[in-house]
Symmetry: C2
Subunit: 261 residues, 2 copies
């Protein structure tokens, strides 16, 4: 099995303008798939893909996710909003998945501000249901890249729950990043609200709900054999290093050359 | 259940020097625990914590992890190196955990350069075995903060496998971050090797093995009731926003005030 490198062969693709985050039109990402080798010890049926799936209602799922955020926070809320419904329908392997353990995804993993728990949870769900690329199930990997790009480009939150914990109106923001620190920080600046404010918490609950909504749309399309990956960016392919698309947001005007290229 | 905010009450703690990453001596982080409310639907025994554990050999675990990297890459390798051994000993709930689905943690989640898969996998293992903080099991959360800080401060890789895929020697580097992009980028710069080089892959396999080694040391101490959290940094507590400790590495000399503080 080759490591993921997102090499495209003859595909047109997004051009990245370093420093602006602006992206030209383009097409899809190829992915190097393959066949799974035997696991060391855990060859359970939970490691056979895809897991059973029925189409879910995105809005109902998002409502569940919104309420779950106030119990288990972003990552576990996204997982539970989908797995609770599929567990009721199918039982295993959903009922044995310990979703509540993923509370630690909060705050970009225990408060360290890395990947926001909402896309982190969505990536888990997509890859658990569809399977990993080493099992010749590339759609899970593609769906995760789509989630990362959607999250970065969307004006969040996109979903408004019917029964809201607080009724405040506040700005929506584009993060240009899947990182919690950046997503939350840009919103806090625009809204002039602190991390501990009820509005920030409500915003994050709605962002989780928005992510669950978008993920269910993708999973439903996949279930109908109508899923096509829309992500058209790969830092590995474009720049020879893992990363996101707007280098200068952190590097300013001193973007280093990729070493050893 | 309150959201994690790492508020310390009367504890001394690390002082953060913005821009240098230098940290003065200090003590531990408090965490707001609580009691778990019922899950929506998936109340399986896999959601009862702690999971059974026996002390593992850190070096043996690291060797397994190193070899697993070449099959499932960083995140899933860390998970499998521990769960394969515990699955052989205890069976469930380990054997039903779909570890191979976590291949997507590679490259900081499908190549986006966010959290390195090694700490991401270690955080999953710690929180699955010990449980989430909402289940009144704060050690899982603490262990994840310890992993994040250890990964950021260690000269990686710390572990050298006995049977190596390639025998090259190359530099060890301190990432000052749990992010894949930064960890891999600093190593690539120091080693002057590309992402696709065998040396970079070997380095990442050894980093995963190093992380598994360190995690097993922590889990063994926890099993002996001798685990004490060593992490002494919280961006939430220090700065009112999720994040890491070296603000100026990205913000340079323009570190914004925390909004709404």
């Amino acid at each position: 099995m080759k490591e993921q490198d997102n090499d495209s062969k003859g595909l047109s693709r997004r051009k990245m303008l370093i420093g602006t985050g602006a992206l030209a039109a383009g097409v899809a990402v190829t992915q190097l798939g393959g066949f799974i080798k035997p696991a060391i010890a855990t060859g359970s049926k939970a490691q056979k893909w895809p897991w059973p799936y029925k189409k879910l209602d995105p809005a109902k799922t998002a409502e569940i996710c919104y309420n779950e955020w106030y119990r288990v926070f972003c990552g576990a809320a996204v997982i539970n909003s989908i797995f609770s419904q599929l567990g009721e329908k199918f039982g295993e392997p959903y009922t044995s998945f310990p979703a509540d353990a993923f509370v630690f995804l909060e705050g970009g993993q225990v408060g360290w501000g890395t990947i926001c728990g909402s896309p982190a949870g969505a990536n888990i769900v997509a890859n658990l249901i569809i399977g990993p690329r080493i099992a010749d199930a590339n759609e899970g990997h593609h769906m995760a890249t789509d989630i990362m790009q959607w999250y970065s480009e969307a004006k969040l939150p996109t979903f408004m729950p019917k029964k809201r914990k607080i009724s405040s109106t506040y700005p929506k923001t584009v993060s240009e990043s899947p990182l919690c620190h950046i997503s939350v920080g840009k919103w806090m600046k625009e809204a002039n609200k602190s991390l501990k404010s009820p509005e920030r918490k409500e915003r994050c609950a709605r962002v989780a709900a928005s992510t669950a909504y978008r993920l269910v749309e993708m999973l439903n399309a996949w279930h109908d054999d109508d899923y096509e990956s829309t992500s058209d960016f790969s830092a590995v392919r474009e720049h020879g290093i893992t990363g996101q698309f707007n280098c200068m947001e952190c590097h300013t005007d001193d973007v280093p050359e990729t070493p050893g290229a």
